[in-house]
Symmetry: C2
């Protein structure tokens, strides 16, 4: 039985430090993610400085975080049989995550995400999805064959026709097996573009745990005030947690709302993966039966580690850190 | 006119932190580089932890270092038209190095090097050369068409039949244009394997500047004592510089020998690229007409930067750092 099965885009990140001028030239609002076609991606890549390639993908990062905290994690996503596909599959397995994905022999190449990290540690992303949204229902079945406590759905997958069947199957199988379904709203722009699809899932009663950041929460609910947005979400989903960067996070569940501060970080280097790792910690907490505050503290601990270095996957022993703080 | 044209293997590094047990399992002596076939490379990769991909290649790192110090640099090497080939070509050009290499449409894939970084910051490398040693003579001609003050030859290319014609052409064209030729002995194991080929170049009077580290110098000369090894090399080549890690470097030229200390480093993280960047600084010094001590100090400055972080290419503004110290 898995603790957490994550479904999302299998992506290799290409990270480079950049100035605000380059972010502006990319035409993507700073701090958000934009999708690009292959030709535009190639053009933007040519404008970037020397890069560093690391496996990424939002829900994939979360799966790695779950494993780093000692949880049993699996990932559902699609790669091609190309070099970056090899890199993705190697890295996620080497991190201790079960990945039963079979690389496609044809079709678009493995997805990649150009990540511009500005001196303020903010990241702006241009993603070429490639084959990442062509997730087979068979892969969902393989990953969920052993059952799972939780399935975590990447919001970036919701609203893409190619992913629809896989998402529906993952949710149905999880619930049929008695598991719970978590969803992240992923990105404020995604919420603008695909809010209706996300709302259909949430208001259709498919989601047990909802993750969002402040901009996503206000954008999704069309509430101007943060507290109103949280209250609105809490009416729709049994458990909601909203992150606010350095301010910390809010958890609303069972009619009550609590706040947990962000964990201290010596120096924020790169915020890529902060939300993904918060989700990892939170989900591990749920799987262990922890209370809401402990879940949020586990999330804050994992997020603090990942923002302290370049790249969206943990480099430290998160389980040991969590045990040292009495959270595991 | 280029300051420095570098010829060597176009390689993408796959870096991972590792313990000594994994280094032992790789079957490669710690601190050295071993060549592996594609199947062995795949097997070793499967044993490694999650990786981080960055462009590398010894002489390519040197070319990037030359550019980072404000020198006009070009690189000669071979990639395939695959994803890692794109990464290599993008990164070296984005670093300001002229790279006229045309990606091959068939043949083996772009070369890659598995780099295990142990907690002592030492690196041990398993390289799958792929197409990297198939350097065309045409590419040499294109890179050298505008002339160069110096051509730097990666020792790893010497002794490989596929590279022989390209190396010979690069040396002949450089000398015909009034330029000088520099060579690095690259690796103590390479010196053991291909000492005769390296000796043929050096004792054939083809080399004006020779780079080596301590183990390569003693191995090549078969002298047990370091001073004897330096004296032996100084008889063969007009200018010799031998690095000794944290101890600093020795320069022997015009009948005299001087020592330069290593530049201070707060914390040595990863020694990959230390020798490559020392060569970059030293070569920029020669190109600027600096004295031997200044050349070595430029080398020490560039090497100190590259060992302070993961990866074999500079991340700081080396030219500004060198100017601040009055070296440029």
């Amino acid at each position: 039985m898995n603790d957490v099965v994550c479904i999302g885009h299998a992506i290799v990140d290409v990270l480079a430090n950049a100035g605000d001028e380059l972010v502006a030239a990319f035409g993507i609002e700073k701090g958000t993610m934009g999708l690009v076609e292959a030709d535009v991606g190639a053009k933007l890549y040519a404008e970037m400085g020397p890069g560093l390639e690391m496996s990424g993908g939002s829900a994939a990062n979360t799966a790695v975080g779950v494993a780093a905290l000692g949880g049993r994690a699996a990932f559902i996503g699609k790669v091609r049989d190309d070099q970056l596909g090899d890199v993705f599959a190697h890295d996620i397995r080497a991190a201790g995550v079960a990945f039963a994905g079979l690389p496609a022999a044809d079709g678009p190449s493995t997805g990649r995400c150009l990540v511009l990290v500005t001196p303020d540690a903010e990241r702006t992303m241009a993603t070429y999805l490639g084959i990442a949204d062509h997730v087979d229902v068979d892969e969902v079945d393989r990953a969920l064959a052993g059952g799972t406590q939780l399935t975590y759905v990447e919001g970036y997958m919701v609203g893409i026709p190619e992913s629809e069947a896989a998402i529906a199957r993952a949710i149905a199988e999880t619930r049929a097996g008695g598991g719970r379904v978590a969803l992240t709203l992923s990105d404020p722009f995604w919420v603008q573009l695909h809010g209706d699809d996300l709302r259909a899932l949430i208001d259709g009663g498919m989601i047990d745990v909802l993750f969002a950041n402040e901009d996503e929460a206000t954008g999704f609910t069309r509430q101007e005030r943060f507290d109103d947005a949280v209250a609105d979400l809490a009416k729709r989903v049994p458990m909601v947690t909203v992150t606010r960067g350095a301010t910390g996070a809010i958890v609303a569940t069972d009619g009550s709302t609590g706040a947990v501060p962000a964990a201290p970080v010596d120096r924020v280097v790169d915020t890529t993966g902060a939300g993904d790792l918060y989700a990892a910690g939170f989900l591990v907490g749920i799987a262990r039966g922890a209370d809401a505050e402990t879940c949020a503290r586990l999330g804050a601990l994992a997020a603090a580690e990942v923002v302290s270095h370049l790249g969206a996957r943990p480099q430290a022993d998160l389980a040991a850190a969590a045990r040292a703080q009495g959270l595991l």
